[in-house]
């Protein structure tokens, strides 16, 4: 490359770096110059996401099955094609059944507490690059969804509405490292706050160091002013390990969320909070052991016929 060419490349690089830093500075100073562009882009992408979600919904777990096909022979091929079509149909049915189950549980949860909800399908998972935990749902401001509303799964808290577009919304999952929620422990009424860690477990920090916390203690959301971002009384998770290290200022513990963030297909956004605090009405029931049936077989011995 010539000397002139080199200096031109350097100049271009410097201009682009300065532009990037300028954009970062503008964003950090709260100048939302490119927010409308971001919203426009989401409006463009959202129909593609919706279409891809409908098209790929039964195929998501189908790759392992489809890889088994491919043996020769027309009869086998024909049967396999039929089999694959039936499997696809079955998967579609199973997918619908799972969504119906999740929806039913969400409605039960919201109905018990008196939350007014809007249900929505998950149309896209978040990307990994930013180490953020997000999903996109297929309903937005047109359905009454607004920023900072609580989002429920069938088991409890799923996250909050981070961004809203006319026909979609971005949900920050409770597992996101930037997620914070005020919680109380069901039995002791001890309060603290929970921080996401990018996985299904989270870190609980209590505000008072004097109370004992135990493994298995259940956490519920405390609620916010005007029920935003959090409505009160939503099951959050349970304590799995208590950190008893000496010299800590605040007592901390590891919490496992009730919600399995890898299996979200239907979510509910709480658009209207309860008129009264539901208290512990939504505390999950402890699983009851199912009795194992004992089968007794009576055998009557018969004499072996002798020749």
């Amino acid at each position: 490359m010539s000397k002139g060419g080199q200096s031109r490349t350097r100049l271009l690089l410097v201009i682009l770096i300065v532009t990037s830093l300028f954009l970062v500075t503008l964003d950090l100073r709260g100048v939302k110059l490119l927010d409308s562009l971001k919203q426009g882009m989401q409006n463009v992408v959202s129909p593609f996401q919706r279409t891809a979600n409908s098209a790929l919904s039964p195929v998501k777990g189908f790759f392992s099955d489809i890889s088994l096909l491919g043996r020769s022979g027309s009869q086998i091929e024909k049967l396999e094609k039929e089999n694959a079509a039936l499997k696809l149909e079955l998967l579609e049915r199973q997918d619908a059944d799972v969504q119906i189950d999740q929806l039913k549980n969400i409605l039960d949860l919201a109905g018990t507490a008196g939350y007014k909800i809007v249900n929505a399908k998950v149309i896209s998972q978040g990307s990994y690059q930013s180490f953020a935990q997000t999903v996109t749902i297929g309903s937005g401001s047109n359905a009454g969804i607004a920023q900072n509303m609580t989002v429920l799964s069938e088991y409890g808290i799923a996250g909050i509405v981070k961004e809203v577009y006319p026909n979609s919304a971005l949900i920050q999952l409770a597992s996101d490292p930037a997620f914070r929620i005020g919680v109380r422990i069901v039995n002791s009424q001890q309060i603290g706050f929970l921080t996401g860690r990018g996985e299904r477990s989270a870190v609980l920090q209590l505000l008072d160091n004097s109370t004992d916390i135990n493994e298995g203690d259940i956490l519920m959301s405390r609620g916010s002013i005007a029920n935003r971002p959090f409505v009160p009384g939503v099951p959050v998770g349970y304590i799995t390990t208590v950190d008893n290290s000496a010299g800590t200022i605040a007592q901390s513990a590891t919490v496992r969320y009730y919600t399995d963030f890898s299996k979200l297909s239907v979510l509910a956004v709480v658009v209207g909070g309860p008129s009264t605090n539901p208290g512990d009405a939504l505390v999950p029931q402890k699983p009851r052991p199912i009795p194992t049936p004992t089968v007794t077989v009576f055998v009557t011995p018969t004499p072996t016929p002798s020749n």
Binding site: L16, S124, Y128, Q129, G198
Partner: protein, 173 residues
């Protein structure tokens, strides 16, 4: 780089971005998955001159910043992609390039992907972005590297052909 070439390249980048956001984002893959846009931007950057690679990295970064899933401030990905694309082009362009053969290109893309994630992790605390626990970060870095290593040899010939088509068509006009 002519205006027409920039226009065609931008459309290709936009198409890859839509594939990433609408199709690949449907799957919650183990280990965090992969970004087809990063693989694409890096593979085109290797094939390009430094200044073209810088513009490509800048464009890819802008698109990534426009994604609603991005958690950092606008411009963070633009800066990271710009630096990574320029660096990979600096090492990979010309006859005396750093990466010899297709295998070298594949490994350079995997390393480039890792470099991008590392740059994000380094810049994230400075810009107030939460990044999660150590185990989560480690598993994501490992997972994405494995996915990129697995996927790059499959998509690289397609991306190379696309590059050739776009830039040959552009140079003829």
């Amino acid at each position: 780089m002519s205006t027409r070439l920039i226009g065609i390249s931008s459309l290709v980048f936009l198409a890859i971005y839509i594939i990433q956001e609408s199709i690949i984002a449907q799957f919650r893959l183990p280990g965090g998955g992969f970004s087809i846009l990063i693989i694409f931007a890096l593979s085109w950057a290797i094939m390009s001159e430094r200044e073209i690679a810088a513009v490509m990295g800048f464009s890819a970064g802008i698109l990534m910043d426009l994604s609603q899933n991005t958690s950092g401030p606008f411009g963070q990905w633009t800066l990271i992609m710009l630096l990574a694309s320029y660096a990979i082009s600096y090492l990979g362009y010309g006859d005396d390039n750093f990466f010899g053969g297709a295998l070298g290109v594949v490994f350079s893309i995997v390393l480039g992907n890792l470099l991008i994630e590392m740059l994000f992790l380094i810049s994230a605390p400075l810009l107030g972005v939460s990044i999660g626990s150590f185990t989560q970060i480690f598993s994501t870095l490992f997972g994405t590297s494995v996915w990129t290593l697995f996927l790059t040899p499959i998509v690289l010939p397609i991306f190379a052909k696309l590059y050739k088509t776009v830039f040959q068509a552009g140079s003829l006009t």
